[in-house]
Structure formats: structure tokens, C-alpha cells
Amino acid sequence: MIHSLFLINSSGDIFLEKHWKSVVSRSVCDYFFEAQERATEAENVPPVIPTPHHYLLSVYRHKIFFVAVIQTEVPPLFVIEFLHRVVDTFQDYFGVCSEPVIKDNVVVVYEVLEEMLDNGFPLATESNILKELIKPPTILRTVVNTITGSTNVGDQLPTGQLSVVPWRRTGVKYTNNEAYFDVIEEIDAIIDKSGSTITAEIQGVIDACVKLTGMPDLTLSFMNPRLLDDVSFHPCVRFKRWESERILSFIPPDGNFRLLSYHVSAQNLVAIPVYVKHNISFRDSSSLGRFEITVGPKQTMGKTIEGVTVTSQMPKGVLNMSLTPSQGTHTFDPVTKMLSWDVGKINPQKPPNLKGTMSLQAGASKPDENPTINLQFKIQQLAISGLKVNRLDMYGEKYKPFKGIKYMTKAGKFQVRT
């Protein structure tokens, strides 16, 4: 399976290598660099690159390429999914996954990687188990370690790996027992020129932060489970119960985890909470273009829309823009031609507006396409699909946990064509 892993930064340096079988020379990455050069943009580097003796499967995240070297046939998603899991684990361990952080914690990284794969086959990928094997570095622990001489490597043995609930470690103890669930929905939509919805769907997740003592057995039920069109679960969820009763029944992992992700695709039901009015025009003759955008609320169920940002990739012909926003701040990068406008909260009485002129390259013909507008926003305390958690019950433990549910709607890939 996975032979070796190389970590390559954006400037093309291999800053970490790890081999699970015999050593593969790092010169194999030359093929990767070649492909990278050809692709011009990092995003366009093909995830699978064949070389004469190996195959390179790569994942690009946090400006780092994770390049896995394999030698024989293997489902490519297997490797890709695993690499993503590695990135997630690093993020989990160090908070951020970046080159300096990895370099600083190279020993922990190495130990973690060693545990994750054996002979190229995944061994322990649950972060709960890994954390029992190798404790994540914290400032406190580093201090303690230097004083007492103890280590990051857990001296307890990870019993979770052997149990029937491998995702949960044993002997969990908390003084405050709490379970929080965040229902986060993202709207993916394409809105056309005239403001009508071309496609819209809702992708939701339920992220949980569970800090409960012992082996609690939780059930979570919804008011309207039929809404969920397609779901995927954390392995802890009992599928049978869901099939028969539409109830999520599970023994949770300790700490943060994604309980469920779901999809609501009833095409016409998706309420689009914002509207964007735009008037962007280039004139053939003049070197000035007009630009005006207004963002306003629509179907928000009385909630405020926050954190609104508008970004747009302007055509190459645009030299500069002089704009005045009614609120927020805006920037235009004349090199990348990226316009971004940080709007903030939308006041329904006074919809924010950005207005001004674009100066175009003199003599150049007018661009054939108006720029697409990408929108980001957040609405607290609202699940746009209408999904509601009914109740959360706990069995198997005696104490009363503190429970909390939070709803949020965000823009996912929200595009307005102009």
C-alpha cells in the first residue's frame, strides 16, 4: 500500500519524508515537480501521477502537498482519504497544520505517522486512540516534561484499540459533564443573472463536542428527520436504529467529532436568505465601467445575517476600481484582480451597497463575461432547512449532563452570476 510520504511546501522543498517500507529516493518527487510546473496553479496538479516505477498520489491542503508514493494497484480514494485523515490528525494535534508547526513538532509527527500506518496499511487512524498513544504537545505538558523528565509517549496502553468501541478511550473522567452539538448548514447555490436560483442544495453537518464521564450511551432525535435526504455517519452511530426509527443512537467518542453529515436537496424548498442586486457594465468605447452591488436580506426568518463578505474575480482588463461602500471595507488587488468587500452585518432597513467605477485598460476590448460574485455569510440560531433536534437522552451513566444545541447557517459555495 502506501510506501512513503513526502511533504512538500509551496516553494518545492521536501521538508519531511517518511518511509514505511524500504526507502524510496526523494528523486521520485521530480515527476511531481514536473507536473506541478505544468499545472501552473497548485489546485490543478493532478492528484494521481504515474511515474515509471511508482505512482504519486497527492493531496494539497494548507499550502502543503502531501505526496504518497505507492507501487501497486490500490484504490486511489483509499490513499487520498488516508492523506486527508493525516492532515486532520495534525490539525487536531497542533491546532494548525502548517510547515513551521510540522517542522517544530517533527518528532511527534513522526511518532504519529509511525502509529498510523504499518507496512503502508492503516493501523490506528482514530484520533482518540492516537492521542492515547502519543499525547499532543501543549505548553503545560512541555513544561512538565522538562521538569519531570516524562515524555509525550503515553505509558498506558491504548485499550480502546482492542475494545468493541475503538473510537472511545476508556476511563474518561470529567468534573463538568457536557455535550454540545452544533448543527451547521451550508447553502450551495448558483444564482443566475436575473436572480433566480439555478441550483441550490443544503449540506449540513452535526459537529459534537462531548465531554462525558464513563461510557455514556446517547440518543438524539429530530423533530423532522424525514428532511434528511442522504446521511453519512460517524462509525459510532448505530445504523439499524436510524433505519428503523430515525434516531441517532451512539456511544460518542471523547472530545470533538463529526457525528453526522447530511444533504437536503429538495430543489425548490431551499430558501435563499440573501439577494444580490448588481449592475456591472463595461462600455466598449470608454475606458470606464460602472460597478454597483447591493446585498440585502430575503427569507431570513427574522434572523440577522452576519459576517457577509463579497469576493469577485474581476476580468483581466480591469486596471483599478474606485468604489465607495455604504458600510464595511473593500480592497481590490490590481495584480490578482480580486475584489473583496467585507460587509459585516446586514441592516435590513439599509441594505449595504458598493458603488463606483472601474478603470479599464485603454484600447482593450470589453470582457465578454461579467465577473461571478462569491458570497459568504453566517446566520446564527437558524438551520435553513428547518431541521430541529427534538431531544437528547443519555443512558448508561447516572449523572445529569449539561446539554446544548446550536444552529448555524452559512454560505457554502454560493455564487451569483452576473
Partner: protein
């Protein structure tokens, strides 16, 4: 200066530090003096530092302090990570392999694995440490020793590795066995000669019932001997059933393997109808070889139950969070399920499109291949493939590809509108791809050809050259397909020649004019004239087309173009490119009449202006379908090393009985009612599948109808297609529906139980009879259910025989037990009809747990049964001498306690041996260990002389043999007494089938297993004696056993409800193995200690 500052950092642990910078400085000065190149100096400094550093590290490694060692190891690992060579430190590092500090040890392992191959001799020094660790009582240490040992790639230790693997594969801990499975692959890659021996180990491990091992051993199987499909037969059903519980990575491997297996073992479920319909619907469908096959096979198709089992058991995995698992299931459905059922995978695949770019890329590729063959699958999700401006180009192109595949008469107008947006995209590469797409849609869907053509012509006036060029190429192809007059377009394109510079486009225009030179008689010669002028500066591709154009004009219009053509031919003759020179020579011979030219030149016109077949615009994914989906080979469209071909369906299924496993299930066969039911359900199972296929036929029919009916408007079309898809879903999901209902019933029961827990016990008691009936019936239900899944028809034959045998043994056993049983005989017969108890059998959490664990179709049936035997032995609580005349005895009635479900019920008999009344007998101060609880009996007002009274009480011992001390008080005195429960009384018997027993036992291995060997005279090993002895000691229920030499008993602990599984296995030579599996290892070992002497004595 960087090196110097580095040197300073190392100061603390080196001795010659102060001097070092000075020396360096001196060297530097000296070199400067000699004007050596600066680079060289740097190298020098680095070299010096390096040597020094390694010395430094060596010293640290040899120091006594762990912290120094650890520091050194950390730095060495840092070097390895950066790819620097640290091999010369090997001797110093390897010494620390036996370090007590775990982190040092682990880092040394990392180092060893990295460099052992290079330093083989030195690596051998470490081997003995691992060999010792392989015998460690701790399973995790054994496992990690095996892991490192097998990772050291030193050929000399192959025999040691082989031995270690063999031993580990028989280890009690599944975790160690898992590591053994990994080690197999490592050893195989180190020394392929060991293959035969390794296959033996694989064979053994494949039989393993632990979910932990399954994934790894299948991986080893795939790597070492993927062709030994015969090893799988016996384990097929087990693998199918375990699949849901295996860890996700293992699932992927197992599913891929089972897909291959299914293709060799079952006949094709794809019916002719399916195939034909597919062909009609599809433009690209190549003649499948399957089609011929299905034609031959006319007899009605019934799916092998094992085939069905696989398809059904993989379905829940579509909900996995792991994209690789979802993809694996999707390819399984694609390759082995009936075509009508494969529809369910599309939803899950579309879901994956939300994932990261790389996942999207792979998934889209697979969808592209699928959508060529079966469009209907993804049509409802058309809009999910709409392109966003932020997608990377490769994703855009793939989405476009899929959109093209999905285009049909109904949705083409919507799609074209969408394409219009794409054409304007700033990403010109993508715009070009869109134009290609429009061309393909135009050729595939006749209705829109003209619209598309017009649209493309409009694009010719686009400002961007790439767009125009692409349009030209596509228009050329379209025009070629349409023999209709398109003079205007050609004229327009001829004008473009002046402005367009892209060679392909120029060549296309020239070709088009040449082909239609008779339709544009005025323009063509003029074009040739212009081209002749620029011939020398044209691209090779264009030059060839100029030659062609010249030749064609020469043949049709030689008057005007003769000279021009000859001029061009002369230019071509001296061209640098030999291809062009060749072509020139060839054309000249063919068209210019001279004496040498033979008969061919007469046909020159026919040769050049023959009707040419229109090009077929094909999907680039068309030829990928011969690769298994989801594989690397499919992604690359090249056969990757180690790719295993997916075989075609066999025409006649190989013998299905090879998959039968000799497991005799007794519990269900003991009741005749259950048996009848089971047969019933089996029948239903078959008829259902047939019915389903019929209905699926009709459903797909209706779907195609609805597709054509739906109007031009995109939205309404979307709706209807979605409807039909949901229909399809429900159809395919129907058969699982039944099952769901059943589980629902079961679940609600479990829930009801937990609810009633808090209720009054009296109420419950009155309900007992009702609920117990219901309970038992539901149990029968589910057991017959699981039966029908796991058994195949052919097996039932062989089972009947054994069943009869079993009946006999049962009959033989019953009278024996009668003798010992002191209870009412009606009550006894616990195994045949498990009578549910009023109190919840298992705590709700455990119940739910068990359900969760058994996501696979067969769920185990575990319920508390009545005690088989109640010993009369009483224990003295208070002797009459010490109790001043009050005597107390207690015994365990082995009944579930009425005071609480976690309590053990105890009956206390009080005797008054004095000649006076004893008044107010009650329980005084209790001294209970933490956790223990006690429910006291009501105070007794008075006890007459010579009188005796029996009271019952309950104590929750928390599953321990701790002593409960309390005071038994009378009016005047208090006596301290204590009750220590025999371990056997902390249990409640449980009725379960042999299959469930084995399954549970499989989960309770390793640390949870204790065993002992018993030696006794053979007469002590008769079934009845063993039975009597065991139930005398412990309150356990007998589990029907298929083998005469194995006796199984099951119980659960009263407090926590943990299972306690006792197995007595008779061996040859008057020995027997006593095995106890339980999570409560303490009680387990105590019970073992108690059972052992009892069983061995006469």
C-alpha cells in the same frame, strides 16, 4: 553567520566548544587568504560541524541520563525526517533498543526500521530484544515487537520472522493476530520463497472471527495469493456478516476482494431486458460480451442467497463517512448487483462531491464512466454537476464530461443555456472544452443540432482565439456529419482564415473548403491563392491541408488552379518535413497525369473526393469501462502493476455448497414451531427476490417513459425524474423494509423495557406472562430471520441429519437433568423456549450496545432464562451458639431479585432455638464496601420458640466477591454477620444459541479469556456429570452444543450484565480444557479457580 550561530547552540553538551568557533574562524580566515571559493569554505564548515555533531550525539546516546538520550534520539529522528543520513550512528543507537523509557524505545524502533537494511549485521544485535518481547504477557508489547521485528528488512532473520508470525497467528489476542497478518505481507516482500508457508498462515487467519483481524488478513491475502480464491469459500459468509463491524480501511480491502470473488462464483444477475434497454438508451454502448451470454441463458434467474447476502450487507456502508468505503461499495454494486438495484449508489456518490478536490476528482471520473453506460442513474442529479467558477479546471472538465453524457432530448435546452455561461468563462481552456461538449451534444441529439451549429457560428466572432479555433474544429466535424448545404457557414469560415492563427483551426477550415470546393467554387481558388503565398510560414498541419486542398481543386477546377497547385507542390517538394515531402510526391503522382502514372490516377477524383465517414465524437471515458471502477488503473486508464482483472460472470455457477460451513445451529431447531417459521421465511426470501426483479423491470420502464413525456421546461423535468428515481429507490429498498420493520419491533421492545425499569415491580410481575410471550415470539422471529440469511438451501439437507442427531442427544440429556433438578419440571426446559423475565434482561445500554454491534443482519438473541438448577446448600449466617439461640442460615434461590435488577436475591432462614420468644429481629448497622447495596428484609416482630421463618433480601455485590457485613439485631442483642457470595451466585443464566455463543466468545478473547486444563477420570467427563457439576457451582444456563465433546454454558453477571461464557472442551486422554470468556476478568478467574477442582475430582 548561520553556521556559527548553530555551533553556539550546541554548546551545552560538548566539551570543546570555546575553541570550536575560534578554529572555524581561523580556518575561514586562512581560506579567505588563499582566495578559495566561498562555496568550498561553506562545505568545509558544514563538514566540520557535521562530524562534530555526530560525535556529540554519540556521547549523548552513551550517557546515563535518559533525558540526554531522548534529546539525542529526537534530533536523530529530525535528521531522518529531513532525509539526512544518520546511518553512522547505528551502533550507538542500537544499544538503546532495550531502554526502559518508552519514548526512547519507540524512537529507536523508528531508527532501526529506517536503517536496518543498510546495517544488517549490527541490526542483528537488536533481534534478541524483540524475541524476548514476543513472549511478553502484555499483548500490546507482543504486537509492537512483532511489528518492528517484521519491519527490519534483513534476510537472515527470515526464519525467525516466520516462526514469530506462526506463533503470533495463534495468539489469544486478536490485536497480536492482526499484527501477524501485517507481518505476513512484510515477510512476503522480503522473501517470496516463503509463499507456501505464508499461505498456510493466511488460511488459518482467514478463519479468525475477530473483526480486528479480518481487514488485515484479507489485505495479506490480496498481496500474497490473490488467486487462491478457494481459501475464501468457507469464510465468505463470515466476512459478509462481519463487514459492517470491521474498521473502515479493512472494509475497503474486503469489499474489493469480495467483488472479485462474486464475479467468479455467481452467475450474472443482469437480465436481457436490462441490457436491451440500456442499449436503446445509450449511444455509446458497445456490444457487451455479457449480452451474448444472457441470450444463451433462457431459464429464469434466481439469485444465489450468498450473492444477495453480499449485496445486502454492504448497503449500510454507503453511509460511511469514509469516501473510500463509499466508493468501494459503489463499485461493488456496479459490478455485481442487478442493474435495477445499482441506482442507490448514485445518491451517495453525489454526496462525495462535496468533499475535497482530490476526492471529487476520483469520484467524478468514476461517475463519468458510469454515466456513459447507464445514464438513468445520475440524471436526477444533473444539477449537482453544474460547474462553479471556483472549481479547479480538472474538476470542471470532468463535470462537463458528465453533463454531456447525461444530456438527452428532455434536458438539453437547460443544459445548453448552462453551457452558454461556461463558454463565456474566463478560464479559456474550460471554454474550449465546453465547445467540444456542445459539439458532442449536437451530434448525439438530432433535435438540437441546428441550434448548436448556429450557436457555434456565433462564437466564431468571439474575440478569444482559442474559443474561435475550437469552434471551427467542432463546426467542421458537425458539417461533415450533415450533408446538407451550409455554404454560408463555409464562406464565413473562409473569411476567418485571415485572422485565425491556431493551426488546428486553419487546417480544419482548409479541409472543409477542400471537401466542399464544388459548393463554394469562387472562394476556394482564392483561398488556395492566399495559402500559396503563406505556405512556407505555415504549420506542418496546415501545410498538409493546403496540399490536400490544392489536389482537390486541381481535380475539380484544374483550369483556375493548375498553376497554383503545381507551385504548392514544388514548395512542398523541398520542405524540411519529410512527411510533407512524402505527401507532395504522392499527390503529384496521383493527380498530375504523366506516362508513368498507372491506373490509379484515373481514380484520383474518387480517391480524394470520396464520401468520408463522419467522425464519431466520443467520450474519452468510453474505453475505461474494462477496468474495475474505483481502482488506480481506472483513474489512469493504464493497467497498473498488481491490477487484478475482474473476471466475467461464469455461465454456470460453481458449486455453491463450498461456502457452507459446518456450524450446526441448535437453538432454533429445538422448537418445531421455530423450524416451520424458518422454512417459511426462507421461501419468502426467494419469492421476494423474484418479485422484486419483476417490479424493477416495470419501474425502469416507467422511468424511461416519464423521461420522454416530460416537457421542455427544465424544472418540471427535474421533478419528474426525481420522482421516478425515488420510486426506484423504494423498490430496491423494499426488501430491506421488511427487515427494518422487524428490527423496529425489536427495538421498541427494548425501549419499552428500559421504560418500565423504573416502574413498580409489582406491576411488572403481573405483566410477566404477557410480555414474556411477546418477547419469546419476537426472538423466534429474529432468529428465523437470521437463519434465512445465513443458510443456503443446500445446507438444510445436511443439517436435518445433524438435527436429528441433536434431538437424540437432547432426549438423552433431559432425563438426566430431571434427576438433579429440584424445580418444577414445567419450569425446566430453559433452552427450548427462553422465557423472558419480568425485569429487563440486560440493562438498556447493553441492549442497545449489542444492537449497535450487530449491525449485520443476524443479531444475537440473548435473554435471561430461568435457573437450570438450584442447589440446596445453605450457608451459616449465624450459629445458634454465637447468636444466643438465634440461628440464621442463608441460601441463594437463584431467582432474579425482586428488589432491584442488580441485586442477588438471598433467602435467610431464621430459627429460634431458645425457649423464649425473640422479638424484633431486624438488620442493624451495615458495613458495606463502597458500591455495594443492600435491601433489607422487613423487621420480624417476634419469633416463637422452635419457630422458624424465612425472609428474603437482596444485595448488590457489584459483581465482586466482597463481603457484605451487617448486624443482625434482636431486641437486646446485635450480632455481626457477613455474607460472602460464592462467585457462581453472582450470575444469572442466559439462553443463547451456539452461533451467538461463538460470536460473543469471538469478541471476548485475549485478556478476556482465561483457561485451564483439567485432568480427571473419564467417567467424570460424561455430559451429565459435567452439566451437574457446573450448574452446581455456578448459576449458568446450558447452551445447546453441536459437538459432543464441547459443553457450553452462558450467564451474565447480575450487576453489570456482562456475559460470562464457560466452555468445557473434552480432549483425548482424560483431559479437558476449561475456558471462561468474560469482560469481568476477576470473576472469570475466580470462577475458573472454583470450577477447576470440582471438575477434576471424582
Amino acid at each position: 553567520m548561520r553556521p556559527l550561530s548553530l555551533a553556539c547552540r550546541w554548546r551545552p553538551s560538548c566539551c570543546s566548544y570555546l575553541t570550536l568557533p575560534i578554529i572555524l574562524f581561523l580556518i575561514l580566515m586562512k581560506m579567505m587568504y588563499f582566495k578559495l571559493p566561498i562555496i568550498k569554505i561553506k562545505v568545509w564548515i558544514f563538514f566540520l560541524l557535521f562530524c562534530n555533531r555526530n560525535e556529540d550525539l554519540k556521547q549523548m546516546l552513551e550517557s546515563n541520563k535518559d533525558s540526554a538520550k531522548l534529546d539525542a534520539m529526537k534530533r536523530i529522528v529530525g535528521m531522518i525526517a529531513k532525509g539526512k543520513n544518520a546511518s553512522e550512528l547505528f551502533p550507538a543507537v542500537v544499544k538503546n533498543v532495550a531502554s526502559k523509557n518508552i519514548e526512547i524505545k519507540k524512537l529507536v524502533y523508528v531508527y532501526l526500521v529506517r536503517y536496518a537494511e543498510e546495517q544488517q549485521d549490527l541490526a542483528l544485535l537488536s533481534i534478541s530484544t524483540f524475541q524476548r518481547a514476543l513472549k511478553d504477557p502484555n499483548q500490546l508489547i507482543r504486537a509492537s515487537a512483532l511489528r518492528v521485528l517484521s519491519s527490519i528488512r534483513v534476510p537472515i532473520i527470515v526464519p525467525i520472522m516466520m516462526l514469530a508470525i506462526k506463533e503470533a497467528s495463534a495468539d489469544l489476542s486478536p490485536y497480536v493476530r492482526k499484527n501477524a497478518a501485517h507481518a505476513i505481507q512484510k515477510l512476503y516482500s522480503l522473501d517470496p520463497e516463503q509463499k507456501e508457508m505464508l499461505i498456510e498462515v493466511i488460511e488459518k487467519l482467514l478463519k479468525d472471527k475477530s473483526t480486528l483481524v479480518a481487514g488485515s488478513v484479507v489485505m495479506a491475502f490480496e498481496e500474497v495469493c490473490p488467486d487462491r480464491i478457494d481459501l475464501i469459500h468457507k469464510n465468505y459468509r463470515k466476512l459478509c456478516n462481519l463487514l459492517v463491524d470491521v474498521e473502515e480501511w479493512g472494509q475497503v480491502v474486503i469489499i474489493h476482494m469480495l467483488t472479485r470473488y462474486a464475479r467468479t462464483q455467481f452467475v450474472s444477475p443482469w437480465k436481457e431486458g436490462d441490457e436491451l434497454e440500456d442499449n436503446e438508451k445509450n449511444f455509446y454502448e458497445s456490444d457487451d460480451d455479457q449480452k451474448e451470454k444472457t441470450d444463451k441463458r433462457k431459464k429464469p434467474y434466481t439469485m444465489d442467497p450468498d450473492h444477495r447476502l453480499l449485496i445486502r450487507n454492504t448497503k449500510p456502508l454507503l453511509q460511511s463517512r469514509n469516501a473510500a468505503v463509499v466508493m468501494a461499495v459503489a463499485q461493488l454494486y456496479w459490478h455485481i448487483s442487478p442493474k435495477s438495484e445499482a441506482g442507490i449508489i448514485s445518491k451517495s456518490l453525489v454526496r462525495l462531491l462535496r468533499s475535497n478536490r482530490e476526492v471529487q476528482y476520483i469520484v467524478l471520473q468514476n461517475i463519468a464512466t458510469m454515466s456513459i453506460q447507464r445514464k438513468g442513474m445520475f440524471e436526477p442529479y444533473l444539477k449537482s454537476f453544474y460547474v462553479r467558477s471556483t472549481d479547479p479546471t480538472m474538476i470542471k472538465t470532468l463535470k462537463l464530461e458528465i453533463l454531456t453524457n447525461l444530456a438527452n432530448e428532455a434536458n438539453i435546452s437547460t443544459l445548453l443555456r448552462e453551457f452558454q455561461t461556461y463558454v463565456k468563462s474566463q478560464d479559456k481552456q474550460f471554454a474550449a472544452a465546453t465547445i467540444q461538449t456542445i459539439g458532442r451534444c449536437a451530434t448525439n441529439i438530432v433535435e438540437v443540432t441546428d441550434t448548436c451549429l448556429n450557436g457555434l457560428v456565433c462564437l466564431l466572432s468571439n474575440r478569444d482565439e482559442i474559443v474561435v479555433a475550437e469552434s471551427v474544429v467542432v463546426i467542421k466535424k458537425l458539417l461533415q456529419m450533415q450533408p446538407v448545404q451550409h455554404g454560408e457557414i463555409i464562406k464565413h469560415m473562409a473569411k476567418l482564415l485571415d485572422s485565425i492563427t491556431v493551426p488546428v483551426a486553419r487546417a480544419s477550415i482548409l479541409w472543409l473548403i477542400g471537401e466542399n470546393c464544388e459548393r463554394v467554387p469562387k472562394i476556394a481558388p482564392d483561398v488556395l491563392r492566399k495559402m500559396a503565398k503563406s505556405f512556407t510560414s505555415e504549420d506542418d498541419l496546415v501545410k498538409l491541408q493546403i496540399l490536400n486542398l490544392g489536389a482537390k481543386l486541381y481535380l475539380t477546377n484544374s483550369k483556375q488552379t493548375k498553376l497554383l497547385t503545381q507551385y504548392i507542390l514544388n514548395l512542398g517538394k523541398y520542405d524540411q518535413n519529410y512527411d510533407i515531402r512524402d505527401r507532395t510526391r504522392f499527390i503529384r503522382q496521383l493527380i498530375v497525369p504523366n506516362e508513368k502514372s498507372g491506373a490509379l490516377s484515373k481514380y484520383a477524383k474518387k480517391i480524394f473526393l470520396a464520401q468520408k465517414p463522419a467522425p464519431l465524437l466520443e467520450s474519452p471515458f468510453k474505453d475505461r469501462d474494462h477496468f474495475q471502477l474505483g481502482t488506480l488503473s481506472h483513474t489512469l486508464n493504464i493497467k497498473a502493476t498488481g491490477y487484478l482483472e475482474l473476471s466475467n460472470w461464469p455461465e454456470v455457477a460453481p458449486d455453491p455448497s463450498v461456502r457452507n460451513v459446518e456450524v450446526i445451529e441448535l437453538a432454533k431447531e429445538w422448537t418445531p414451531a421455530g423450524k416451520a417459521k424458518q422454512e417459511n421465511s426462507a421461501k419468502k426470501f426467494y419469492s421476494e427476490s423474484e418479485e422484486e426483479e419483476d417490479s424493477s423491470d416495470s419501474s425502469s420502464d416507467s422511468e424511461s417513459e416519464s423521461g420522454s413525456e416530460s416537457g421542455e421546461e427544465g424544472d418540471s423535468n427535474e421533478d419528474s425524474s426525481e420522482d421516478s428515481s425515488s420510486e426506484q429507490d423504494s423498490e430496491s429498498g423494499r426488501e430491506s423494509g421488511l427487515e427494518n420493520k422487524r428490527t423496529a419491533k425489536r427495538n421498541s421492545k427494548a425501549k419499552g423495557k428500559s421504560g418500565s425499569e423504573d416502574e413498580e415491580k409489582e406491576n411488572e410481575k403481573s405483566k410477566t406472562s404477557d410480555s414474556s410471550n411477546a418477547e419469546s415470539s419476537s426472538i423466534e422471529d429474529s432468529s428465523s430471520d437470521s437463519e434465512s440469511e445465513s443458510e443456503s438451501e443446500s445446507e438444510s439437507e445436511s443439517r436435518k441429519v445433524t438435527q436429528e442427531k441433536e434431538k437424540k442427544t437432547k432426549q438423552g440429556r433431559t432425563p438426566l437433568t430431571k434427576d438433579v433438578s429440584l424445580l418444577d419440571l414445567d419450569d425446566f426446559n430453559p433452552v427450548s423456549t427462553p422465557v423472558a423475565l419480568p425485569i429487563p434482561a440486560l440493562s438498556p445500554s447493553l441492549m442497545a450496545d449489542l444492537e449497535g454491534l450487530n449491525l449485520s443482519t443476524s443479531s444475537s438473541v440473548i435473554s435471561v432464562s430461568t435457573p437450570v438448577f438450584v442447589p440446596t446448600k445453605t450457608h451459616v449466617l449465624l450459629h445458634r451458639m454465637s447468636g444466643k439461640g438465634l440461628a440464621a442460615h442463608y441460601f441463594f434461590p437463584r431467582q432474579p431479585c425482586i428488589f432491584g435488577d442488580k441485586m442477588v436475591s438471598i433467602q435467610i432462614t431464621l430459627n429460634n432455638t431458645t425457649d423464649q420468644k425473640i422479638e424484633n429481629i431486624h438488620i442493624g448497622e451495615k458495613k458495606l464496601p463502597i458500591g455495594l447495596k443492600m435491601h433489607v428484609f422487613n423487621p420480624i416482630d417476634s419469633l416463637e420458640p422452635e419457630g422458624s421463618i424465612t425472609v428474603s433480601m437482596g444485595i448488590d455485590f457489584c459483581d465482586s466477591t466482597q463481603t457484605a457485613s451487617f448486624q443482625l439485631c434482636t431486641k437486646d442483642d446485635c450480632f455481626s454477620v457477613n455474607i460472602q457470595p460464592p462467585v457462581g451466585e453472582l450470575l444469572l443464566p442466559v439462553a443463547m444459541s451456539e452461533k451467538d455463543f461463538k460470536k460473543e466468545q469471538g469478541m471476548l478473547t485475549g485478556m478476556n479469556e482465561t483457561s485451564a486444563v483439567i485432568i480427571a477420570a473419564p467417567q467424570n467427563f460424561t455430559p451429565s456429570v459435567i452439566f451437574q457439576k457446573v450448574v452446581n457451582i455456578a448459576n449458568v444456563g446450558a447452551v445447546p452444543s453441536g459437538q459432543d465433546n464441547i459443553h457450553r454454558f452462558a450467564a451474565k453477571t447480575v450487576h453489570s450484565g456482562s456475559l460470562m461464557l464457560v466452555t468445557v472442551e473434552l480432549k483425548e486422554g482424560s483431559t479437558a480444557q476449561l475456558i471462561i470468556n468474560t469482560e469481568k476478568t476477576v470473576i472469570g478467574s475466580v470462577l475458573l479457580r472454583e470450577l477447576k477442582p470440582v471438575l477434576s475430582q471424582g
